[in-house]
């Protein structure tokens, strides 16, 4: 029983990471109607930036904030420089850019930081597990950080004028321009925000899995499964889906398929969702009357 509870808790902790990356995927998806395959590699690269800063003597939370800010700028710059000229290009052009970005970030990280696994510090301390041994300090801390990020993003989109404008620009760029919204800037902001969310996810998962240029490839797959499970058109659904995938992965890995085959669970989820309920659990099919 204790074992199960422990698996559940660590499932929620890693689920938070998947939820963050799933949210980043959904944000780009809503604006471009494509999945940004490079989202994970961008997060990995951000994590290296954080490690470089920490090794240079910057305190953890200082490095955290700088990394989030730099990632935001990188994300926004990618939209402006690479995606914006592709606005009217065929689907494959965007997909090509995403794959190119994935390879580029992966290789540049390998070239700059080598492919060896590196430990990444946790800001929550080593100490003994809490609450009778169920929760490690990092699990608790990273889950709290993730929840704060998700809530902040939700409140931003739900309650602010800028958040509404960003949603409008993603849904209906033509009408958005007609009410005076600079659509290009909104899309760049969205990319920046997605990259910043990914950076937090990278910094939170790195102490658990160690940092290397391929750190996020598995995470991206779980996050994609989470986004599909919750509904790739629904940010809230994607977040819930991310948490669910984390729990399924941990419990399934521990009791059903074993740790070596855990990643296949993500593929199973993807296939089952696409066959049984392509819109996902919470994906709403938008009703249009004419």
């Amino acid at each position: 029983m204790n074992g199960l509870l422990h698996q559940l808790v660590s499932g929620i902790a890693s689920g938070g990471i998947y939820a963050s990356v799933a949210l980043a995927l959904v944000m780009i998806y809503q604006a471009t109607h494509h999945v940004n395959f490079a989202q994970g590699e961008m997060a990995m690269f951000s994590t290296y930036i954080a490690l470089t800063l920490i090794e240079a003597g910057v305190p953890y939370w200082g490095a955290f904030v700088i990394t989030v800010a730099v990632s935001f700028v990188i994300g926004a710059a990618i939209q402006r420089v690479l995606m914006n000229p592709m606005a009217n290009a065929p689907v494959l052009a965007s997909v090509g850019i995403f794959i190119g970005l994935l390879l580029m970030f992966n290789s540049v990280a390998g070239w700059l930081f080598t492919y060896t696994l590196k430990p990444f510090p946790s800001p929550f301390g080593e100490g003994p597990p809490l609450f009778g041994g169920f929760v490690s300090r990092h699990e608790l801390g990273s889950t709290i950080v993730t929840l704060i990020v998700l809530l902040t993003v939700w409140a931003f989109f739900r309650f602010t004028r800028l958040g509404l404008a960003m949603r409008a620009a993603a849904f209906n760029p033509v009408s958005s321009r007609l009410v005076g919204i600079p659509v290009g800037s909104m899309l760049a902001l969205g990319w920046g925000l997605a990259a910043a969310i990914g950076a937090v996810a990278g910094m939170m998962i790195a102490p658990v899995v160690f940092l290397d240029p391929n750190m996020m490839s598995g995470v991206l797959l779980y996050a994609f499964a989470g986004a599909l499970l919750g509904g790739i058109t629904n940010p809230l659904g994607a977040v819930v889906g991310g948490f669910m995938v984390g729990v399924i992965e941990n419990i399934g890995g521990a009791y059903i398929v074993g740790t070596e085959l855990k990643l296949t669970l993500a593929l199973v989820i993807i296939v089952v969702v696409l066959v049984v309920r392509p819109a996902g659990l919470f994906g709403k099919t938008v009703v249009n009357r004419v």
Binding site: L164, F171, S175, S176, L178, V179, G180, I181
Partner: protein
């Protein structure tokens, strides 16, 4: 008619417009006056919608477009909107996925005067009481007539000096069209906004317009006070159908 010392609200001189390689507008000259209704009439494919798109910088243009005397051709669509030109586009431009309230808030996106916006919201609910009842509803589930009302309210919330209306009667039942045009007349009187309305339904547009232009394959073939155009024998036979 515009006097030399007071520039027209909107003035186009030799306006050309094209979608990629295909040219649609061939040198239009027209004006829209402050507080008046100007109708742009013509058959399907004459270039009416394209003219509105040209004003808003949504297509490639040549020639001059002046708004309150200042050139706006070549500027970005969102910048033109922020100058005070609201456009109810072809197909109404509803933000389908968002709620009615969010659609309206987006209409006022470019404005910073909170008190003014709140007052304008109240006035819109006066014109269109159904919108108030449906504030929390997803806009895509509104009927066509309600979406048209939403589109007009959204455009007016920009507090525009110029309102461009693209076929407000399109796809609506005659009774709803009559309701909307009745409210439009009220809006024109009360808001003091200059209106350029594009309509296939010429008799409807001429009933509320002061001035009208008749477009044929991208050229203006007739211009003048709406009353004169309505009496014109050829227009009556071709466009008014009696």
């Amino acid at each position: 008619m515009p006097t030399p010392d007071a520039p027209a609200l909107l003035e186009a001189v030799g306006l050309h417009g094209a979608y990629g390689e295909s040219k649609v507008l061939h040198g239009l000259d027209f004006v829209v006056d402050q507080g008046g209704v100007t109708a742009l009439l013509g058959a399907n494919g004459a270039g009416k919608t394209t003219t509105l798109r040209a004003i808003c910088g949504m297509i490639r243009t040549a020639g001059e477009i002046r708004f309150n005397g200042a050139r706006i051709d070549g500027r970005a669509t969102d910048a033109i909107a922020r100058l005070g030109i609201a456009h109810v586009p072809d197909g109404r431009g509803t933000f389908m996925e968002l709620t009615v309230a969010e659609n309206l808030r987006l209409g006022a996106y470019a404005r910073r005067d909170k008190a003014g916006v709140a007052a304008d919201f109240a006035r819109m609910f006066g014109y269109f009481p159904t919108l108030r009842e449906r504030l929390r509803q997803q806009a895509g589930t509104l009927s066509g007539g309600e979406q048209q009302m939403l589109a007009i309210a959204r455009a007016l919330l920009l507090h525009p000096k110029l309102l461009l209306l693209d076929e407000p009667s399109f796809g609506l039942a005659p009774r709803i069209v009559r309701d909307i045009f009745t409210i439009m007349q009220r809006i024109v009187q009360e808001e003091g906004v200059g209106v350029l309305v594009v309509e296939q339904n010429a008799s409807l547009a001429l009933a509320i317009a002061d001035r009208a232009y008749l477009l044929e394959t991208g050229r203006i073939v007739m211009a003048g006070p709406a009353a004169d155009i309505r009496r014109d024998e050829a227009v009556r036979r071709s466009y008014l159908g009696y």
